[in-house]
Every structure is written in structure tokens, then in C-alpha cells.
């Protein structure tokens, strides 16, 4: 068939220049190649990555495809333009990032866009297809009980007063001070970059698979580089024991070589992007103390926490692995995750279910007056049972020695010596004999004791200044 023709010339072949062609070939090659941060991320994994319902194979979209979270036109297949949530959502997500009217748990699947997948394990399709354990299990090895999904972690024991969680409204509200974080952002974005977060639960010993991004460095991972790990934080770090083991350590059961923090992301710098300052807690109905993990200063009111860079006073009686003869000068610096969970916990204050290789002896409660806090302290510090030769079970979770000294030289730096004119009844309830004082009155982040701190307790007993006048007590 005869075809019309045009008078168009074909000048482009002449205009082409070598460099332009080369640039074009480079650009063309990049269309199909995607091995960058998203491709390496947990969500972008072509096998285990994000996959939304019927969209994933045999549906049209590959596992890890953007469409599993984003609807570029606020619509999806055949029912355009109505998006899944009924109206367009910011960031072209299939659902709003956060339902900010939800101030407290229990959270629903629809409260946070991420919960659409990271839902209760019993609601996941296929069942249990996206298991996310708490830190105690994923990195600490405590594989008994605990949550199996992120939503479950937040919603633990909703009927119990002592279960705690990272209040997502508070997270969302606080994170808005970071430039990248928008009103419409999901609170999860404060700590994670969903386009970069990696599959750390599968590789707990390898921090290159970190799922973290600092709020102040949202566009990069945190913990993947050697300088972003606990051994580089400053001070000496010793990983706690792996659950049930005396020979292996967190994270994930590493050996001695990896127990120096070189396998552990620097959680202190990470968490303190927010917690270095006072933060309002809607759950606690008060401000949370600012964490000072950097300051030394010894026993002064202005000093930092001893679990951080500040050192112990004179001597210290610890359990393995912190009982080493050659305890580093100033002691060890701890990682936040040595004691705390990130999302939620059956204990108060996000305290882990297991610490330093053992489960807590009971629930760590909000109540300051009891000795439940010692369930945590006792995982690393020696109680009277430990110091007494471990012969009298009645001495378990008793803390007289560390406060008042024992035999020999053990009491060289105790804060309150006995036999020097002290009157037990000043501080202790006396029936049937001197009763322990709740740990929570003196031992918490930022705490110190002097003539006015903690002062008079609710039971009317007044704690006097310790020896030396002031003592940092955390």
C-alpha cells in the first residue's frame, strides 16, 4: 500500500554526539537495575518483602513493589478513583499514616498504616506470615512467650496496669520537630525509614541488617556502619548474656569476640535523639526525665547516669559478664536495649521480659514501693543471695549488703553503714523487722540521693543523705 510521506529530515543521527550516547546508555541501564537501599530493605526484598493482599503474585505486582503501600493515583485496579481507605491518603499511601485521635492503646489495625501488615499474628494472611518478636526474643534469645507482631507488642496485656508501650501519639507529636516528619507521617517513621529498614530479625548478629534510622538522620540507616555501634559510643560496652547461656551474648548469641558492642547498634545515640530532653508522656501523665548518658562527674547532683558514661563509686558487685576482674575504669556503659523494649512490654517502663540471659523474676511494676524493680536490677547486680555464697534462698532479691555492707571489705563504699549510730527506724518500716525500701524511690534515670532526695517517702519515713552527702543512684 502506498503511504503518505513527510518532508521531515532525519537530522538526529548527525546531531548525536558520543558523550550523549554514553550518558543515555548509562541512564537506560538504570531502568532495570535497582540494587540500592530500597532493594536491600526488608520491604523491597523480592522474596520476603512487602506484599499487599491480592496485589501480590499471582496478582499483578511483584513482591516488594511500591504499589503494596502506595496508590499513585489514590486508586487501584478497576475501582478508580476510590482508594482502599475511601479517600486519598497523604504520601499516596493506601491508608492514612496515623489516626492521631488515638491517644492510647489498645491500637487497632487501622490506627497506623503500618499495622495493615504488621497486625496481630492471628489476623495475618497467610496466618503468621509476618512475625516480629520483641527484642528479648529476637536478639536476646528468650523464645518463650512474648508478642509475635508489632501491633501485639504495643497492645500487650491491655488489661494489666503495668504493661507499657511507646505511646504512638507521643512519638508522633514529638517527632514533628524533625524536618522530614510531617503531620501525616506514621509514628513508626520517627524511628524507621520504611524504604531502608532491613530485615534484622533474620540476621540478629549482623547489624548491617539494622532496621533503624535516627530521627536526625532519617535518610540513612543507623547501626550498619562500624562507627554507629556500641563499641564506638565511648566508654566500655559489654553485651549481656544470650538467654540461657553462659558463653554467648547478645545480639543473637554472638561469641566473646562480638560481645564488645561491635555487633550492637549504638542505641544510646539513637534513642537520645529524642530522650536527651524531657518529653511529655500522655500515658504517664507527666514529663519523662531527660536521659544523660554522656556526662561523668561522679557522685554529684549534676553528674550523669552511672549506667552511662559516669562511673561507679568505689566498688561494684556484678554478675557475669560484668563481674570481670578487670572491670574497666568507670565501669561499663549500657545500651538502652539491654534493659528496654522499643515497642511494648508486659512490664512497666518498657522493661524487657528477660535481661542478661535470664527472665525477670516477676512483673516489673510502676509501683515504686515494692521490690519488683529489683527483678531488673538483679539480672546484673548481686543481691544478698549472690554475695552470701548462694546458700540461703531467703536472701534472693534482698539488697542489704549493697546498701549497708557485709563482712570484710565489701562495704567500703556503701551509702549507709550500720552500727555507726544509725537508726533503722528512720528509713525502714519496722514490723516485723527492718523492711526493704522500694527501689523506685532512689533508682531511676537521673536519680540521686542527698538530704532532700528522695526526702520523705509516702509512708512518712525520711531518707537521710548518704555517706559523702550525695550519691548518684542510677
Amino acid at each position: 500500500m502506498s503511504r503518505p510521506v513527510t518532508d521531515q529530515s532525519r537530522p538526529k543521527r548527525i546531531r548525536q554526539v558520543t558523550f550523549a550516547t554514553a550518558l543515555w546508555l548509562v541512564a537506560l541501564a538504570s531502568v532495570s537495575a535497582w540494587a540500592g537501599p530500597y532493594g536491600n530493605s526488608a520491604h523491597g526484598d523480592t522474596v520476603n518483602g512487602v506484599a499487599r493482599g491480592d496485589l501480590a503474585p499471582p496478582g499483578p505486582y511483584a513482591v516488594g513493589n511500591c504499589a503494596h503501600c502506595h496508590e499513585q493515583h489514590a486508586s487501584m485496579g478497576g475501582v478508580e478513583p476510590a482508594p482502599a481507605s475511601g479517600s486519598p491518603s497523604p504520601f499516596a499511601l493506601f491508608a492514612p499514616g496515623f489516626e492521631s485521635s488515638r491517644r492510647y492503646k489498645p491500637y487497632q489495625t487501622t490506627d497506623v498504616m503500618c499495622f495493615g501488615c504488621h497486625a496481630d499474628s492471628s489476623l495475618q494472611v497467610p496466618l503468621g506470615s509476618l512475625l516480629n518478636y520483641d527484642y528479648a526474643r529476637a536478639f536476646g534469645g528468650y523464645d518463650s512467650g512474648g508478642p509475635e507482631s508489632i501491633l501485639e507488642a504495643f497492645n500487650q496485656n491491655p488489661a494489666g496496669p503495668d504493661a507499657s508501650y511507646h505511646n504512638l501519639y507521643d512519638v508522633w507529636n514529638h517527632a514533628k520537630r524533625f524536618p522530614y516528619f510531617k503531620d501525616a507521617s506514621a509514628p513508626c517513621d520517627a524511628c524507621h525509614n520504611p524504604h531502608r529498614a532491613r530485615r534484622n530479625r533474620e540476621f540478629p548478629q549482623n547489624p548491617e541488617y539494622t532496621a533503624l534510622s535516627r530521627p536526625t538522620e532519617h535518610e540513612s540507616l543507623w547501626g550498619d556502619a562500624p562507627e554507629e555501634r556500641m563499641n564506638a559510643y565511648g566508654g566500655s560496652y559489654q553485651s549481656p548474656l544470650f538467654f540461657g547461656s553462659r558463653m554467648t551474648y547478645e545480639p543473637g548469641g554472638v561469641g566473646e569476640i562480638g560481645a564488645d558492642g561491635s555487633k550492637t547498634p549504638d542505641y544510646v545515640s539513637y534513642c537520645n535523639d529524642c530522650h536527651r530532653e524531657r518529653i511529655r508522656s500522655n500515658t504517664l501523665m507527666r514529663d519523662m526525665v531527660a536521659i544523660d548518658w554522656k556526662t561523668g562527674g561522679g557522685d554529684s547532683a549534676a553528674a550523669g547516669d552511672k549506667h552511662g558514661s559516669n562511673g561507679f563509686t568505689g566498688s561494684i558487685f556484678m554478675k557475669k559478664p560484668y563481674e570481670k576482674i578487670a572491670v574497666p575504669a568507670g565501669g561499663y556503659v549500657l545500651s538502652c536495649m539491654d534493659c528496654h523494649e522499643a515497642h511494648g512490654s508486659p512490664n512497666a517502663y518498657l522493661v524487657r521480659r528477660s535481661v542478661n540471659g535470664e527472665a525477670l523474676g516477676g512483673v516489673f511494676t510502676q509501683d515504686r514501693s515494692g521490690n519488683s524493680w529489683a527483678y531488673l536490677c538483679g539480672r546484673c547486680h548481686q543481691d544478698d543471695y549472690q554475695q552470701g555464697g548462694m546458700t540461703d534462698p531467703n536472701q534472693v532479691n534482698r539488697w542489704r549488703t549493697v546498701h549497708h555492707g557485709g563482712t570484710g571489705s565489701d562495704g567500703s563504699d556503701v551509702p549507709y553503714q550500720t552500727g555507726g549510730g544509725g537508726n533503722c527506724g528512720t528509713c525502714h518500716e519496722q514490723s516485723p523487722g527492718p523492711q526493704p525500701i522500694g527501689c523506685g524511690y532512689c533508682h531511676f534515670h537521673g536519680a540521686y540521693c542527698d538530704s532532700t532526695h528522695p526526702g520523705t517517702l509516702p509512708n512518712g519515713k525520711t531518707i537521710p543523705a548518704p555517706l559523702g552527702g550525695v550519691r548518684r543512684t542510677f
Binding site: D7, K12, A27, V31, G39, P81, S185
Partner: protein
């Protein structure tokens, strides 16, 4: 009868010759009409849809056709591109598309090809054009249709109301090319072939001939060979404009039928829908988008093009100052592609693929 037929044939020949001469004269007198069709009138037209007493075999059995044409749009524009002077948009054999349809071995053009839509299960791979393939089995109307955006001549696709089940056409009331006020596709693009211009079309008016690819009111720079194996230096330059109100942008053309897709796209981050007619130069100087075309190199990418305010010439580099405007065609092929949702690259079959052309920090 034979005599009558002979005289009609002679008259046809005379008319064809005269028309050809007039056309040629017009072409010679109009130096800007570089893209106008030239050649013998009889290449496209027949006075009586008859030659030597009957229809020519190559005309097919469906005529006669409007405007005394010997065929439909597809009749002329069906074939295999080889860089020649005729743009083929529909092929009976699988076109060579490659990764992006813009490679050195591809034989599709800027709009892609309708071939894949015509294949079984191909509804999502392009526009289901009436006469080329059956209607879409899922979508009975253009997704996102609002019917409230008009072409420069005031015409609106479907006159503002798209009948359920109505297929899109090449041109006309339900088409993309020409005026939406004309039922006849040929009438809709009237003058487009004979008076068509090439190169820079910066001031489109109501005439199809003055619009980019006979798209009424749309500006742009027309690549001389419809982007057959385009390069950084030789490609279409699509018109874009920020704010969403400029009806001469290539994306505004799409919005005539897919208006909802363009609602809430100009409010800024966080976007409710993927923005179009938004300049990536409006992002922070250190944003990931500033690495489009390579960090600090910023070459124009014909495979994932961006539009510009100035369409007087094709750009080899972008400067993020009115020349990095996201357009519908940045991601989609207007006619069709081998990919789901007529994407330029295999988006659905990958974790995103070409998205990283702009979302560079993800790569």
C-alpha cells in the same frame, strides 16, 4: 456503466492531481509546515472509493471512509517502525520494546504501541481504542473521569458525560487527537495532516494542526521521527507547567479524561496523589530529586522524560528551573506498552524500577 466509471476515474485523477498541486503549493508557501503530509493525494484519498470500477484491494472492505480517505487511522498507522517517515502506532507483530521502549534496538515510538492491548489479557497495557481491540473488560469509563476539563477549543471529551461502555477513539468526541467537538475522527483532526507543523509548537491554538501531535491546545516540541530510538539530544520536549491550571501541558490533555487523577496534586508534600505538573526544582536543593539524570550531571532521560515550561527545543540537561516538571508521560506510554498500566518500564514486575529516576535515594 463502464464509460461512466471511466469518466469518474479520469475525474478522480484530475482532482487528485489538482489537489496534489495545491497541497504542494501550500507546503512550499508555508515554510513552518514542516510536518505536513506531502506526496500524492491519491496516497490517502479517493474521490469515489473506486478505481477502475472497484475498490482497490489495499483499501479493504470497510469503506468508503470520511474525508474521501482510503482507510481509517489504523489503516495508515499500522506497521513496523524502521525510522521512516510514517509513524506506526499499532503492529500486528510484537514490537521490539526492550527495557524502556527507548533503547537503540526498539521499534516503538513515544506513545508506545497498541499491540499489547490487543493481546489476550492486555486491557491494562494501554488504551482500548475502538476499532483496534475490544473494550476493556474491567473499566467501563476512563478511570478518574470528571469531564470538566476542556481543550483549547472549548470541547470536552464525551461532552462532559462519558457513556458506560464507550470505548476511546483515536480522535473526536471520545478521542485524544483533534477536537472533542467532532464526532468524526477525520473531521476532528481536520487540517492536521495537511497543515501540521513540526518542531517547536509553543503557541498552540484551537486548530489541531497547531497542537503537539494534533492534540488541540497542547504545546510541545515534536521530535522529527516521533522518538524512534530517542537520544539525550533528540527527543520530544513535553510541555509542563506548575500549578495544574495550564491547559497547554501534556498532562492537562490526560486530565481531560482522567481528571480525578490530577486532583489534589498541586498542594505539596505530603501528596495525596503522585504529583504531575510539578517541578522537581521546587524541592529542597539537596533533595533526592535533584539527582534526576545523574547527580550533578542531570542529563535529560528520554526513557523517563520530564516536561518543561519552555519547549522551543529539546533539552539535553535539566536545571531544575522549570524544566523538571513531572508529567503523566514521565511514567506512562499514551498508546500502550508491554507493561501493566501502560507503564514505560516494567513497574509491576519489579520493586519499582524506573521510579528511582526521580526517587533517587531509593536506589
Amino acid at each position: 456503466m463502464k464509460r461512466k466509471a471511466d469518466s469518474r476515474s479520469a475525474l478522480d485523477g484530475l482532482l487528485a492531481s489538482l489537489t496534489g498541486c495545491v497541497s504542494l503549493l501550500l507546503v512550499l508557501l508555508a515554510p513552518s509546515a514542516q510536518a505536513a503530509v506531502t506526496g500524492l493525494c491519491s496516497s490517502c484519498h479517493t474521490m469515489h472509493y473506486s478505481q477502475d470500477g472497484g475498490a482497490m484491494p489495499e483499501w479493504g472492505d470497510d469503506g468508503p471512509f470520511e474525508s474521501l480517505l482510503t482507510s481509517t487511522c489504523a489503516g495508515c498507522h499500522m506497521g513496523v517502525n524502521d525510522g521512516g517517515a510514517m509513524p506506526f502506532v499499532f503492529s500486528s507483530q510484537p514490537p521490539v520494546y526492550g527495557v524502556s521502549g527507548s533503547g537503540s534496538d526498539s521499534n516503538t515510538l513515544a506513545g508506545g504501541n497498541f499491540y499489547w492491548v490487543a493481546q489476550a489479557g492486555g486491557d491494562t497495557r494501554g488504551h482500548n481504542v475502538y476499532g483496534l481491540m475490544a473494550r476493556d473488560q474491567t473499566l467501563s469509563q476512563p478511570p478518574g473521569y470528571t469531564g470538566n476539563r476542556a481543550a483549547a477549543d472549548g470541547s470536552v471529551p464525551g461532552a462532559g458525560s462519558w457513556p458506560v461502555g464507550q470505548q476511546v477513539t483515536c480522535a473526536g468526541v471520545y478521542g485524544c487527537h483533534g477536537s472533542h467537538a467532532e464526532q468524526s475522527p477525520a473531521e476532528a483532526v481536520r487540517g492536521g495532516h495537511h497543515q501540521g507543523r513540526g518542531g517547536a509548537l509553543v503557541t498552540p491554538d484551537t486548530e489541531p494542526a497547531n497542537g503537539f501531535r494534533m492534540l488541540v491546545g497542547i504545546a510541545g516540541y515534536e521530535d522529527a521521527d516521533w522518538e524512534f530510538r530517542p537520544t539525550v539530544a533528540a527527543h520530544n520536549q513535553y510541555k509542563g507547567s506548575t500549578g495544574g491550571a495550564d491547559n497547554s501541558t501534556i498532562s492537562s490533555l490526560c486530565a481531560r479524561c482522567h481528571g480525578n487523577f490530577h486532583s489534589a496534586v498541586s498542594a505539596g508534600s505530603p501528596w495525596l496523589r503522585h504529583p504531575v505538573d510539578y517541578d522537581m526544582g521546587s524541592t529542597a536543593p539537596n533533595s533526592e530529586y535533584r539527582s534526576y539524570g545523574g547527580a550533578e550531571r542531570n542529563s535529560y532521560r528520554p526513557d523517563i522524560p520530564v516536561a518543561s515550561l519552555n519547549v522551543s527545543q529539546p533539552l539535553t540537561r535539566v536545571t531544575f528551573s522549570g524544566d523538571t516538571i513531572v508529567a503523566c508521560v514521565s511514567c506512562h506510554r499514551a498508546h500502550g506498552s508491554p507493561n501493566h498500566k501502560m507503564m514505560r518500564w516494567d513497574y509491576a514486575g519489579s520493586i519499582g524500577g524506573g521510579c528511582t529516576a526521580c526517587h533517587t535515594s531509593k536506589d
